[in-house]
C-alpha cells in the first residue's frame, strides 16, 4: 500500500490543461486545411484515396483521411493547418471552404436535457479500431473526461448519446439499430471518424457507407482517427460546456 502511495507521488499529476489552454499538438499534425478552390489541381483531386475533393475544388472533411497527399502535389491550393476544431453539427461545416464548425451553435435541447451529465455509449461498427482506441484515451488520466461530466456507459439504456465508429459493416447493422432503439428518447448520435461519417476507405466495401444511412446524426467528428483533442473539443461544444 505504502509502495502504491509512493508511486503515485513519483508519477505525479498528469492531467492535461486542455481546454483552459490549447492542446499540445505535434508540428506535423494535420488539422483543418486551408483550401483555395480555384487553385486546386486535377492531380490533387485524382490522387485523393477517398474522393474527398469535389469538382469545384472543395474538400469534404467527412471523407478526408488527412493523408496530406493532395497538399503535397498542390501546395498552392491546399495547406493543412493545426486547427483542431473539426467537429461539426452540419454537413455545411464539413466542407472546406465553408462554414467554420466552431461558429455553429449546438442543439439547445441537448443542453437542457443533459445539464452537466452526459453519458455516451460507444458502438463500434466495422472500421479498424483506431477511432475506438483514441476515444478510449479520453478516459485515461491524461484527458480525464469525467471532469466535464462526460461518462462512457456500458448499456445503451443509460446513454444520452451513441458514439458510432466505423462505416457500419453489414454484419453490425442490426446490432447498431438494436443499440439505438434501446436508448431512452430523445437520444443523440455522434459519428466519430471518416468511416462513420462517410464510409471512409470502406464506402464501397460490405458496409452501409456511414452511420447516416442507418441513423440520424447530430454531430460529425472528422479524422482518421480523430485526435483525442479533436474529439474532446467536439464533445465539449456539443454539450455547450463552459
Amino acid at each position: 500500500m505504502l509502495k502504491a502511495f509512493m508511486a503515485r507521488l513519483r508519477q505525479g499529476y498528469r492531467t492535461g490543461t486542455f481546454p483552459s489552454t490549447p492542446p499540445v499538438l505535434p508540428d506535423r499534425f494535420a488539422g483543418r486545411p486551408e483550401v483555395f478552390p480555384e487553385k486546386v489541381s486535377d492531380e490533387a483531386r485524382s490522387i485523393c484515396p477517398v474522393e474527398a475533393i469535389s469538382e469545384n475544388g472543395r474538400i469534404d472533411l467527412g471523407r478526408c483521411i488527412f493523408c496530406g497527399k493532395c497538399a503535397k502535389v498542390c501546395p498552392e491550393g491546399i495547406r493543412f493547418t493545426d486547427e483542431y476544431r473539426l467537429g461539426a453539427f452540419s454537413h455545411d461545416a464539413l466542407t472546406v471552404p465553408g462554414v467554420e464548425p466552431w461558429q455553429e451553435s449546438s442543439n439547445p435541447e441537448l443542453r437542457k436535457l443533459c445539464g452537466k451529465s452526459f453519458k455516451i455509449r460507444q458502438v463500434s461498427a466495422g472500421g479498424c479500431a483506431a477511432c475506438e482506441l483514441d476515444f478510449n484515451v479520453l478516459n485515461t488520466l491524461a484527458w480525464d473526461i469525467g471532469r466535464f461530466g462526460i461518462q462512457v456507459v456500458a448499456s445503451p439504456r443509460h446513454a444520452d448519446a451513441l458514439l458510432v465508429t466505423g462505416p457500419v459493416s453489414d454484419n453490425m447493422r442490426l446490432a447498431l439499430e438494436k443499440s439505438y432503439n434501446a436508448m431512452p428518447k430523445p437520444s443523440f448520435v455522434i459519428a466519430g471518424g471518416a468511416c462513420a461519417i462517410s464510409g471512409g476507405l470502406y464506402r464501397e466495401g460490405t458496409t452501409a457507407g456511414g452511420v447516416e444511412s442507418v441513423l440520424p446524426v447530430d454531430m460529425y467528428v472528422p479524422g482518421c482517427p480523430p485526435h483525442p483533442a479533436v474529439m474532446l473539443e467536439a464533445l465539449l461544444r456539443l454539450i455547450a460546456y463552459r
Binding site: 488527412f66 493523408c67 483506431a130 491524461a142 476507405l201
Partner: protein, 485 residues
C-alpha cells in the same frame, strides 16, 4: 520440403515459377511440416492462375531462414488436413466460407466471419450458457462469445467473429493506387506501422525498388514504438482488470506518450501516412531525433516503475499465475504465433527468423518464453517492451546518412506473387500480393496474427473460471478487424 520453392522474405516470383504438386504430396508435406518445430503455416488460400484455381500454401521455415511456397490443384472438395494438423482448421473454414470449398472430414466446418446461429452446446440440468456481444460493455470492437459453463467453470468457449468485416481484401484488388497503402494500414488500425512496412515491401519487391538504410531504420523505429505503445496499454488494461489501479492509470497515460512519439515523427498517433513504397515520407532530422531521445529518456523509467509496481504485487501475481494456460503442445498444434506463442514457450520471432529491412542489421533481443499462462503473456510483453526501447534508442542514435525516399519508377511486375512477413506487435503478419498480366493487383491476402490466435483464447478458457475471462482476453488482446478484414 524440397518440393516447395524456397523464397526470401519480402521478395516476388513469377506465378509460373511456383511448383504445382499432386494434391496427395502437397497435403502430406504440409501435415509433416507443421509437426516440425521449425516450420509453420503462414497462409493457405486459393490462387487463380490463368483459368485454373489452385490451393497455395506458404510456410515459414525458421531453420533455413526462408519461406516455402507451392501450389496444388485440389478441386473444390479435398480431404481436410485439420484432423492431422489442427493448425489448418481456421484456414479451411475460411476456404469453406469464402470459396465454397469443402475440406471433408473437417471436424467443425462452419463460417468464421459470419455468425450462422449454430453453436456448440452442452446439455444437462446444471449447464448454463452465457452469450456475450457483439456489442461489448466497454469501448471495444464487436464479437460474439458463447460460454458453456457448469457453475462458474467454463467447459467451452466459442468465439464467433465477422462483425467487423468490410471487404478489405476485395477493395485492394485492381490498380495499385493511392488507396492501396491506406487500406493495408487500416486492416488493423493498431498495427499500421507493421502493415505499412509489409505492404510497402510488397510493392518494392514487385518493382525492384531498393530503399535507403535510413528509411528502413525509421520504419523499424515506428514498428517498435507501435509495439511498446500497445504492450504498455495492454499491461495497463490487465492491471485494470484485476483492479490494480495504480498501474492501470499510469500505463494509460504512458501509452499515450509513446503514441505521441510516433506523432512526433509523422503527425499521426498511429503512424499512418508515413511509411510508403520507396521509403518513408518524413525524415527524423537531428533536432527531432534529439527531442525523441529526450522524450524516451524521460518516459522509459516512468514506465518501468509503473510496471515493476504491478509485477511486485502479490495480489496481482496471484491472479495472473496459472490462469488461462495454453500448453506448448496445444500452442504448437493450433499454430499460435507472436507474443502468445512465445509465452507458451514456442521460439518464434520473425525479426530473427526471417529478418527483412533494418532487422537484417539489428533486432531487439528476443524475450524469454514462459509456460503459457496470463503471467507469461504479461512477462513476454514486459521484456519485449524494454528490448524494443533499447533498440529504438540505439537506432535513433545511429541513423544512417542519406535520403529517406527512393522514387518507385517501375510498374508492378506482371503475373507475379510477392510475400511480406512482418513481426507486428501481436505476432506474425503475413501479406501477399498477386499481380495479373497487366500488372494490376489480382489478389491480396492479409493473415493477421489474430487469425492464428483467436482459437488460442478459446483454449485458454477451458476449465477456467468465467470470471477470469477478462484477464485471459486482455493477455491476448486480439484484433477483431484484423481478423475480419
Amino acid at each position: 520440403m524440397k518440393n516447395f520453392l524456397e523464397l526470401k522474405n519480402c521478395s516476388a516470383v513469377k506465378l509460373n515459377d511456383l511448383p504445382v504438386l499432386p494434391f496427395a504430396d502437397f497435403r502430406q508435406t504440409l501435415i509433416d511440416s507443421v509437426g516440425n518445430e521449425n516450420l509453420r503455416i503462414a497462409a493457405f488460400f486459393p490462387l487463380q492462375k490463368s483459368s485454373d484455381r489452385y490451393l497455395c500454401a506458404v510456410l515459414v521455415d525458421a531453420a533455413h531462414r526462408c519461406l516455402r511456397c507451392a501450389l496444388s490443384g485440389s478441386g473444390d472438395k479435398f480431404p481436410s488436413l485439420t484432423p492431422e494438423a489442427p493448425a489448418f482448421h481456421w484456414f479451411e473454414r475460411e476456404l469453406f466460407e469464402r470459396y465454397n470449398m469443402e475440406p471433408y472430414g473437417h471436424p467443425w466446418l462452419k463460417p468464421i466471419r459470419k455468425a450462422d446461429g449454430d453453436y456448440f452446446t452442452m446439455e444437462g440440468d446444471a449447464v448454463n450458457e452465457v452469450a456475450v456481444g457483439p456489442v461489448h460493455a466497454g469501448v471495444i470492437e464487436p464479437g460474439h462469445f458463447r460460454f458453456q459453463c457448469m457453475g462458474e467453470k467454463v467447459y467451452s468457449l466459442e468465439i464467433s467473429l465477422g462483425y467487423q468485416s468490410r471487404g478489405v481484401e476485395k477493395l485492394l484488388e485492381g490498380k495499385f493506387s493511392s488507396k492501396t497503402l491506406p487500406l493495408f494500414e487500416s486492416a488493423a488500425g493498431d498495427t499500421a506501422a507493421a502493415a505499412a512496412t509489409g505492404a510497402s515491401s510488397l510493392i518494392e519487391a514487385l518493382t525492384g525498388t531498393q530503399i535507403s538504410q535510413r528509411a528502413s531504420q525509421i520504419r523499424a523505429v515506428m514498428i517498435e514504438l507501435e509495439r511498446v505503445a500497445n504492450h504498455t496499454g495492454d499491461l495497463g488494461a490487465l492491471a485494470g482488470d484485476v483492479a490494480y489501479l495504480p498501474t492501470a492509470s499510469f500505463c494509460g497515460r504512458i501509452r499515450g506518450e509513446y503514441l505521441n512519439m510516433t506523432a512526433e515523427i509523422c503527425g499521426n498517433r498511429f503512424g499512418r501516412n508515413c511509411i510508403m513504397p520507396g521509403g518513408v515520407r518524413y525524415d527524423i532530422e537531428p533536432e527531432r531525433c534529439k527531442k525523441l531521445l529526450k522524450h524516451l529518456e524521460r518516459v522509459n523509467p516512468e514506465l518501468k516503475h509503473a510496471l515493476d509496481l504491478m509485477f511486485d504485487s502479490p495480489t496481482v501475481l496471484d491472479r495472473f499465475e496459472n490462469t488461462g494456460s495454453v500448453s506448448p503442445e496445444t500452442a504448437r498444434s493450433i499454430g499460435l504465433v507472436g507474443t502468445a506463442g512465445r509465452a507458451s514457450g514456442l521460439k518464434m520471432d520473425l525479426r530473427h527468423e526471417l529478418p527483412a529491412g533494418f532487422y537484417e542489421t539489428a533486432a531487439p533481443k528476443q524475450a524469454p518464453g514462459g509456460n503459457g499462462d496470463v503471467l507469461s503473456r504479461a512477462k513476454v510483453r514486459y521484456n519485449e517492451i524494454f528490448a524494443s526501447l533499447e533498440f529504438i534508442g540505439t537506432t535513433l542514435q545511429n541513423l544512417a546518412e542519406g535520403s529517406v525516399y527512393t522514387p518507385v519508377s517501375a510498374p508492378l511486375q506482371t503475373d507475379s506473387i510477392a510475400f511480406a512477413l512482418t513481426e507486428a506487435w501481436r505476432g506474425e503478419l503475413c501479406q501477399i500480393m498477386v499481380t495479373d498480366a497487366q500488372g494490376d493487383i489480382a489478389q491480396c491476402r492479409i493473415v493477421d496474427p489474430s487469425f492464428h490466435n483467436w482459437f488460442g483464447l478459446a483454449m485458454a478458457l477451458r476449465n477456467e473460471e468465467i470470471s477470469n475471462f477478462p484477464i485471459c482476453n486482455k493477455s491476448f488482446n486480439l484484433s477483431y478487424c484484423g481478423h475480419d478484414l
